[in-house]
Symmetry: C2
Subunit: 228 residues, 2 copies
């Protein structure tokens, strides 16, 4: 992906989304952030993002359609969060994602990077508490894979607020359970992985990612080299 493309970020006010916005801006891209709460959007605007108000659960899709028009790429980092019920898992993590995929197709966006979750390939293999959420992520990832867009699905382990290390390990489509170690990765490293995925000339790649010992650029380049 050439520098100075326009990336629409969903979930830009979240823990990982914020860091992705900063990263994309630092890399020379234009960033449009689709933001529900204007108060949370203000700091993004101050840092150089174009903030567009909108809500993924609004029955009226006009704001989403308008926000997606003209973008080169879409990054989905939105999530209903642990404090809301499964209604919101269905409406945001699942259907919100589906709507952004449809909007990206309709707008002719070139590519799409999804922030998914480790173990989303096998929701029932996880704890009872996690399985419903992972079922939503699994289905959203499947809808993306069938969209006709150029796409990558990023599945990180447990997210931490540790500083960036630029050191990760990846597995396509998964990291073997025995090799998962502490199963964590910092949001900053995930943001770097997502930015590199947006910049990679690749599609059809689903991968799990944890903190590790390979530079992000190198790890993502390897994934892209093995892609369609």
């Amino acid at each position: 992906m050439d520098p100075h493309v326009l990336v629409l970020v969903h979930g830009a006010t979240g823990g990982t989304g914020r860091l992705l916005v900063d990263r994309l801006l630092a890399d020379g891209h234009q960033v449009r952030a689709f933001v529900r709460d204007p108060d949370k959007g203000a700091p993004l605007a101050k840092r150089g993002a174009e903030v567009v108000p909108g809500d993924l659960t609004d029955p009226d899709a006009t704001a989403l359609t308008d926000a997606t028009r003209g973008v080169d790429a879409v990054a989905f980092c939105a999530g209903s969060g642990a404090s809301t019920g499964k209604d919101m898992t269905l409406l945001v993590d699942l259907h919100g994602a589906v709507r952004t995929i449809d909007a990206a197709v309709e707008a002719g966006a070139d590519r799409y990077v999804m922030l998914s979750s480790m173990a989303a390939d096998d929701p029932l293999g996880s704890s009872e508490a996690m399985a419903p959420y992972l079922a939503a992520k699994h289905a959203a990832d499947r809808v993306l894979a069938a969209s006709g867009l150029r796409w990558m699905v990023v599945r990180p382990g447990a997210l931490t607020d540790d500083p960036p290390t630029d050191q990760v390990r990846t597995g396509t489509p998964r990291i073997a359970r025995a090799e998962r170690g502490d199963r964590s990765i910092s949001r900053a490293d995930v943001a770097a992985v997502m930015a590199a995925s947006l910049e990679a000339d690749a599609t059809g790649v689903t991968f799990e990612v944890l903190s590790g010992d390979r530079p992000v650029a190198e790890a993502v380049a390897d994934l892209a080299a093995g892609s369609a």
Copy 2:
């Protein structure tokens, strides 16, 4: 579809599934029912179905894989029901459906008919109470459409226990809101529509269905004629 094919029915102990089983048996098909509760399976076995024990939320997919082996067609009528929480909507209506689709692909089944719901094309256009459920149905239907199977998606309105009328009206992919009338249809008529859909030589057809004034066979034949 030739007579005497083998149809795997999910949700065979439910209100519509039971009637579908009877209908398929009456039409001369073999029916295999994937049933969680053996007590509820016994009456199906007595009427001539092969009852196979299994649970769509079992992390071990062996029972599902085994049950799907050798079938010509799959019908999905399972649903978590109104009395369970959205966790089960995610695990049964969404992920359970996805698993049966994957199993059908793996087993080389020829075709798949999904019992979906009116308004699943636009979950957020419905009431707040219905939207999360419809989001699950919407995504399951999308995963089916991308599966490579030959498929039809049946989207009935509000289900009643009225006797069969063999009189329906359909809309592809939807019935205009102004024409929806009382928006209901009997489970018996839905079962007849699903059986006819299984028998039709068609794929790529999503349709809404309500009680109406056209014989089921005629209505479904028209849908099939317009299909891929």
